[in-house]
């Protein structure tokens, strides 16, 4: 058993979003950053000097730097260049994907090219994983070196290996790979509620008894598919994410989650629905204007637009599109929900067919399913739910947050593996048949799909030539009859066969699929009893040496990147603290002696100067600490004063400040003067900004019907009113929202804290152009 002090976190490494979660005595919870956001967008933005930004901030760079912003990297994991190019996947990506030069003919490793540097999908996923594990370490206050990572159930061996490699490169010991639908079932079956943001996951009760249904006419002579006994249930998990689709049928009994069957498509997801919209727009623009939308920047912008339209159509009947092609020409269109549904229907048909296949393999009928669980953001689309309900004849279970449930399940599994929980066990299956290439290019199947794992098959081989020392085997995964129609996992070379006449050696090869669904091969020459060495040359993956090297490199990069992030954070903090000190001096400075006051003033000046010139995060950190220590007495005085000045309404009469970036303009607000009566909610950031001559764009007049007054509240967000649904919706369609984003017209500070507010680039032009007015 792993030592009790080892923390294992659960990670959902998604196509669009990634999350980390941790399980302790009170249950599993998503690991969130300071602003309460748990989702890390699976987007990487590379700057010219090699720095990388991960997450929502990276997404904002997508249009400016389309060829160096990488998204949906999960769709490339474990796949070779040739097959990606042939599948048409690459034509949708604005960033460059090339074939990496390799040492043997059989290897075909794809890599993303950024500013001349090649990075493989596991390396890129590794960067995301590293950020998640750092977030977790910060949150938990301890080093995190172990994780359970989820993959689509339908991922084959190469894709699973790639995921494990990504973990290693990120410095994580991936103790287990589990399937996403199974993880979701675990969260469901243990009664874990994953409600909307802001609340903790609910307490746990065993929730294993589903609805009792009457027996349908299952064929009596065929496998007596026994009705679940008391306390048992049969559930279906429908998992439609950004890039992958899985359906799994599970049987839940006595805390054991037994997968009966699984089916899916590792290249079907929300991204494809976006593409339908993209292609529609490209086609119409071509027809109407003869213009081709094909520059990387335009395609990135179009992709973001399409995603927003798709999301809007889940709650609205129609969504407008407007694209400025150039100075004179503009393309406008309204897409109706019904139109969108027609476009995505063929994709959904495929998912329904997968459901039928999984049911067949599980020897179940739709009527036997007690519960259907939805996983993945794309299950919010109304048509998706309707089709599922049509098939299963029952409503879907929607109490689980489809974005978080997988990570929570992974955290529970992590707790099981670290020995802190013993109430559940996952028994999974292999999703695809495994076989080897035989004479004539056929496939000899060794292990059938949906065989429960761990499982094992053995096969005997011999030599063709006298004294032959090596035998090569091509191992394949898939359901087709011919080797060329299946996926090659790689070439396995059995070595060190003792010299014997042709056909005499008896090499017994054991193919073992472990609990991760990953293949382990071992071989023994039976006559001599010798263990044969096996050299595996993965068809599309990295060798062990390559992974090791990348792990070291990534560690170095992570340190550099961390430093860059730290510098930005420190500079912001210095601006904030020095401004605050100024304010406090104004408020309570007269209680200090003149030398004390001037000491603080000069310390402020020094610190500001240091922040501008220094690149050394550590020395900035130390300088900041020293400054804070020096102004401590001042701060105490300021607080005492504030308490004395309460104005009888219970509300402090102290002023608070809002510092607006990038102009670094500090505005003091006396709450008793509010509201100022300008646009936006009374006392909102917009109201305050307009009063002080900072002309924030507010196209809708400040009523919250647009996103042009989008600001980023770096500090003080907790001292403001909470986001409403409507505001969140507007922000979703804003240009590059971050976890700290707010609409200035809706955000009302309560005066208990100072704020640090950044006006994003696209609003700045207007804000800077006017002179201050009263």
């Amino acid at each position: 058993m792993t030592s009790g002090t080892d923390i294992i976190i659960g990670i959902d490494l998604g196509t669009t979003n990634s999350l980390a979660a941790f399980c302790d005595e009170s249950g599993p919870r998503i690991i969130r950053d300071e602003s309460g956001d748990g989702c890390l967008r699976s987007v990487l933005a590379f700057s010219r000097d090699g720095r990388v930004t991960i997450g929502a901030e990276a997404k904002t760079h997508a249009v400016e730097n389309p060829t160096s912003t990488v998204f949906s990297i999960k769709r490339l994991m474990g796949r070779g260049y040739e097959e990606l190019a042939a599948s048409g996947e690459l034509s949708h990506l604005p960033y460059a994907v090339v074939k990496r030069a390799t040492d043997t003919r059989h290897r075909d490793v794809a890599a993303v090219e950024i500013s001349g540097k090649l990075m493989t999908p596991p390396e890129l996923s590794g960067i995301i994983l590293r950020k998640l594990s750092q977030l977790a370490a910060d949150h938990l206050g301890r080093e995190v070196t172990k994780a359970v990572i989820t993959v689509p159930a339908y991922f084959d061996d190469a894709q699973r290996q790639a995921t494990r490699d990504a973990g290693r490169i990120a410095g994580l010991d991936v103790v287990r790979i589990i399937n996403e639908p199974t993880a979701a079932a675990l969260a469901y079956g243990l009664g874990i509620r994953a409600p909307a943001r802001g609340q903790a996951a609910g307490a746990l009760q065993l929730n294993l008894a589903g609805d009792r249904r009457s027996v349908d006419e299952a064929n009596p002579a065929d496998t007596p598919r026994a009705r679940p006994a008391e306390g048992e249930s049969l559930i279906a998990v429908y998992d439609l994410g950004g890039g992958t689709f899985d359906v799994s049928i599970l049987r839940l009994a006595e805390g054991i989650f037994e997968v009966q069957s699984t089916h899916g498509n590792t290249h079907l997801g929300g991204d494809d629905f976006d593409r339908e919209i993209i292609e529609l727009v490209q086609h119409e623009v071509r027809e109407e204007f003869g213009v081709e939308i094909n520059t990387p920047a335009a395609r990135q912008a179009l992709r973001i637009l399409a995603e927003n339209v798709k999301i809007r159509l889940s709650t609205e009947e129609a969504a407008p599109i407007e694209i400025e092609l150039d100075q004179e020409r503009r393309y406008t269109r309204t897409i109706e929900r019904s139109e969108f549904e027609t476009l995505i229907s063929p994709w959904l048909d495929m998912t329904i067919e997968s459901c039928r296949r999984a049911l067949n393999d599980a020897r179940a009928t739709p009527g036997m399913i007690d519960q259907v669980i939805l996983v993945g953001g794309s299950t919010r689309i109304p048509l998706v739910r309707r089709r599922i309900e049509e098939l299963f004849g029952r409503r879907c279970y929607t109490a689980l947050n489809p974005d978080e449930v997988v990570a929570l399940g992974a955290a529970v599994q992590a707790a099981i593996l670290s020995g802190t929980r013993r109430d559940a066990l996952l028994l999974d299956v292999i999703p695809l048949s495994l076989g080897i290439e035989t004479m004539g290019g056929a496939v000899g199947k060794l292990i059938m799909r949906n065989t429960r794992i761990p499982c094992r098959a053995t096969e005997r081989f011999s030599t063709f030539v006298d004294g032959q020392a090596n035998v090569k085997i091509n191992v394949l995964q898939g359901e087709r009859e011919l080797a060329r129609d299946c996926r090659s996992l790689g070439e396995f070379e059995l070595r060190g066969i003792p010299p014997m006449p042709a056909g005499i050696p008896k090499i017994l090869v054991e193919f073992l699929i472990d609990e991760n669904g990953i293949l382990n091969v071992s071989a023994k020459e039976e006559r001599s009893g010798k263990q044969a060495g096996i050299q595996i040359i993965p068809a599309h993956g990295l060798t062990a040496d390559e992974v090791k090297r990348m792990e070291l490199e990534s560690y170095e990069h992570a340190r550099e990147d961390m430093t860059a992030q730290r510098l930005i954070g420190l500079r912001n903090q210095i601006a904030f603290d020095t401004n605050k000190a100024e304010q406090m001096l104004a408020q309570a400075g007269e209680e200090l002696s003149a030398p004390e006051r001037s000491a603080i003033v000069s310390a402020m000046g020094e610190l500001r100067a240091l922040a501008e010139t220094s690149e050394d995060a550590d020395s900035l950190h130390n300088a900041l600490n020293r400054f804070d220590a020096r102004t401590l007495r001042l701060a105490e005085m300021a607080i005492t004063r504030t308490l004395r000045e309460t104005d009888g309404t219970g509300r402090a009469a102290r002023t608070f400040a809002i510092t607006f970036l990038p102009m670094n303009r500090r505005v003091e607000v006396d709450p008793r003067d509010l509201p100022y009566g300008h646009r936006g909610l009374p006392g909102s950031i917009l109201d305050i900004a307009l009063k002080h001559g900072i002309d924030l764009t507010h196209a809708c007049g400040g009523v919250g019907a647009c996103a042009t007054c989008h600001v980023i509240v770096h500090q003080g967000q907790s001292a403001c009113n909470k986001l409403t649904e409507g505001e969140a919706d507007q922000l979703d369609s804003a240009y590059g929202p971050t976890p700290h984003s707010r609409l200035a017209c809706r955000c009302v500070p309560d005066g208990t804290q100072d704020l640090l507010v950044e006006i994003p680039e696209w609003n700045r032009n207007l804000a800077l152009s006017k002179e201050p007015q009263t």
């Binding site: 002579a221 065929d222 039928r356 066990l425 429960r452 499982c455």
Partner: protein, 180 residues
Amino acid sequence: MNPQPPEGFDYFELFGLEPAYDIDEGVLHGKYLLLARSVHPDVVGKASDEMRRRSLSLSSQLNRAYDTLRDPVARAAYLLAQVAGPAAAGDRAVPGEVLDEVMMLREEIEEAQAARDTAALEALRRKITARRQSALEMIAGLSRSLAEDNSETQKDLRKQLNAIKYWSNLLDQLPPGGDV
């Protein structure tokens, strides 16, 4: 699925069942869960490589045993192997009429797929499902009267076990059915 010679332990014994075609699925399942709990790698942990190896070995044997006894066709084949010996598995004889019909149906499937005739494909699916059903019923009957000295029954059972594979393979090529 061709069962390989029993790996030194009897599957029925492992689950506490009488060796027979008809078994109590509930008992089988319950025993399986109990055993799985003790040998699964997640439970055994990674204390040492040796423990992990053993756990993987035991788990795969357990899973194989369970999958064999759970599926009526595999169960019948296992019973046959116990009675007739492993050599019986090498007998690939199939009732003549089955091969003829399979070939014909294969052609019909290809035609229907080429013409995208979903109605025809559905009809074919029903037909082949019915064929498979009869084969299964025959397998059940033969398995129940299986005895060490009755080589006729054994041969017939072998033939039916070979035949049902063809029906299953054909079904695999067809789109999955509606819920009938």
